[in-house]
Subunit: 409 residues, 2 copies
């Protein structure tokens, strides 16, 4: 069918390519494949029963209100709860410092909309979260990559990047997607000091922070910056925009996340949201509030951590047993992913083809590198598959990698 | 609090001003005001009971799936239902011609993202839907206004506009927001023929089409275009992108709408959605499908029409009684709004100030005119307030307008 539309696409559509991962996920959706490719929470941890109770309560008590249009900023009780929670674990913020978004992806999009002019430089870790690149590519962002190791971004290399004059620094300090690594406490301080010295603000993306399976919680970058800025140290300094989400704590199908930012930035983000989708589903916000209140979320997070810790442990143990010595991998303290580093000569995308034939999948790491490289890397998810499938899938990968190594010798 | 962010806004934020209406709605949110300013459905018509049943069924049968991530295009059963519905009343489309969006506002935003380069011309009715202007302003659209009268866009004036070379024509043929007028059948044919002659495609925005309180349903523009393009006339021609929503049929708090477009355009819109928010809430889609299936929606629409028809009738009757002869207004056959035209010398925004003091509100018409004018016009909503409030509020407005007329003489 020929239509007049195809000659009318805007120039920005050339930068808008489809997500490699989402296209890949379609390939791995065959029911008999063991997929470590997605970034899905385990459906077994969704609190279905609690949702059912919450839906009934919301519809019985504030039904008409929950089904009506609501304010762009988000439901006040939900923002108040998030503010309270943030004050307890991090910095003191006002509900007016919070915008509810339809998932973190929307927060990334709005940040692009409000801050990125075509050609602006953004400092990112390499590798970094693909969804951020996808959101900001549409606005014509250019990336300055700072390498990372097992302690996160190599902050020693940040200063060179800051001298280029970037719009902001984007960092995922906890159990990063894709590598699973955590930015060390020293580096967090170093990051805040450098950013302050150059006057460059920070976006802290923290979807997994509460999903820690060992070690102590580290103070967030937003908290360290606030301490750095003032002696009392507990009031939000405004230099860091902080993002988190209900997707990993409750359920991603709700599409509920939040941004913490200075009020003047929230106002701009609200304008972006008015034009983009008016507001996030009133009903979902009311249900998430109902499910979360009275401390349920804290208890539930313990349960998720227990399930994911077991899966991570099974995966790490199996890798130890079956992967050839030529393959290395990270050992995350939390989150949902670990990162595999194949021998330099091995191409992860090529290996994936054979892996899919053998009914196991992962994501080749190349797409996570905004300025190239990483052809021998891969992201492996450990939250979605059950322990038996993890053992079986990793064993299949181990056999494959050993074959490839043997063939190469 | 001074932060480094305020010096970093992207240029496009200058075009992103806050919605006049949403700011105004805050003023009119005092509980004792009778507001005809919003565009809210009556909460009394929300099928709360059916939602409760649907939530329970969805969570009991496909709970984990409904809470999980899902495809960007939207749930297949929902798209299939919409395709079936569209085939029954309009043209034959495939589920792959459909994208589920988080409200119609998001469809407008994605259309801007995919089609509008800065400076592109878009043909709109004047007055037109404010949400479309707000969505497309962010992309730097320029507007070519075509005037409208009680039969919708004055299509005789369209040809001049088409010779400027616009990207597309945007039209709301049924019970338009803000005027409440319906594009006549003759003009629909004329619109399709002119668009075809100049090769300019059409966006048909139809949120209220099913809410008709008198007269016969008119064929949609997409249907007339399909008949115009081929003899069999029932297969979607692809020249018209058609949008509609569950907001007015079920509940706006769900944020659920859909776009019908050629598959190649859907692919671009899907790329836009991947970067913007991944997908629309899985749960809400599943619940909307569960509520709508088995013919409930058809029955429910009859109920909504009955309630809104009464409110429209009460409003029109009261206006007839209490408005001075200097004021004119439209008599919509459906939808949620009517349009008031004050004497040329009367400023609706000025009148609103006094009206708010007297605890009644409407929206001054100026903002709906993309190229200026309309200072003496106003949008009046009749779906939200109950008949008693409508009688009381319109009476207050009648007194006010009579006073202003008397003072002017």
């Amino acid at each position: 069918m020929q239509t007049p539309w195809e000659y009318r696409y805007a120039n920005r559509t050339k930068r808008m390519g489809s997500s490699v991962i989402r296209e890949l996920l379609k390939l791995t959706e065959q029911p008999d494949i063991i997929s470590f490719a997605g970034g899905l929470p385990a459906p077994e941890v969704f609190p279905v029963q609690q949702f059912q109770e919450a839906c009934n309560i919301v519809l019985q008590t504030i039904g008409a209100q929950a089904l009506q249009y609501s304010t762009t900023e988000g439901l006040f009780p939900l923002r108040e709860m998030i503010a309270r929670h943030t004050g307890r674990y991090s910095v003191t913020v006002d509900p007016d410092n919070i915008l509810i978004t339809s998932g973190s992806q929307q927060a990334l999009d709005f940040i692009g909309r409000v801050f990125i002019n075509q050609g602006d430089h953004i400092v990112v870790e390499s590798p970094t979260y693909l969804g951020a690149l996808q959101a900001w590519n549409a606005y014509g962002a250019q990336y300055i990559s700072v390498r990372s190791d097992e302690h996160g971004m190599i902050v020693d290399e940040l200063e060179t990047a800051l001298r280029i004059g970037p719009k902001f620094i984007y960092v995922l300090p906890n159990f990063q997607n894709p590598t699973g690594t955590t930015l060390s406490l020293d580096r967090r301080h170093q990051l805040v000091e450098l950013a302050d010295r150059y006057g460059v603000p920070i976006i802290e993306d923290d979807p997994y922070g509460q999903l820690r399976y060992e070690g102590e919680h580290l103070p967030s970058v937003v908290m360290i910056d606030s301490q750095h800025q003032s002696d009392n140290g507990h009031t939000y300094s405004g230099n860091v925009i902080y993002m988190s989400t209900f997707s990993k704590l409750l359920a991603p199908g709700l599409r509920l996340a939040w941004v913490i930012a200075p009020q003047e930035v929230i106002r701009k983000l609200v304008q972006a949201k008015q034009a983009a989708d008016l507001h996030t589903s009133t009903f979902n916000q009311a249900v998430a509030f109902e499910v979360s209140k009275n401390g349920f979320l804290d208890e539930h997070v313990k349960f998720i951590c227990q399930v994911y810790k077991e899966r991570r442990d099974v995966m790490l143990e199996t890798m130890e047993e079956v992967f050839p010595t030529e393959v290395r991998w990270t050992r995350p303290d939390g989150g949902m992913f670990l990162w595999g580093i194949l021998p330099e000569w091995m191409d992860a995308a090529e290996a994936l083809k054979t892996a899919i034939e053998r009914k196991v999948a992962f994501v080749p790491g190349r797409a996570f590198h905004p300025t190239g490289g990483g052809d021998n890397t891969m992201r492996i998810n450990f939250s979605f598959s059950n322990p038996n499938d993890i053992r079986e899938g990793i064993t299949r990968l181990g056999i494959l990698f050993k074959e490839l190594v043997a063939k190469h010798k």
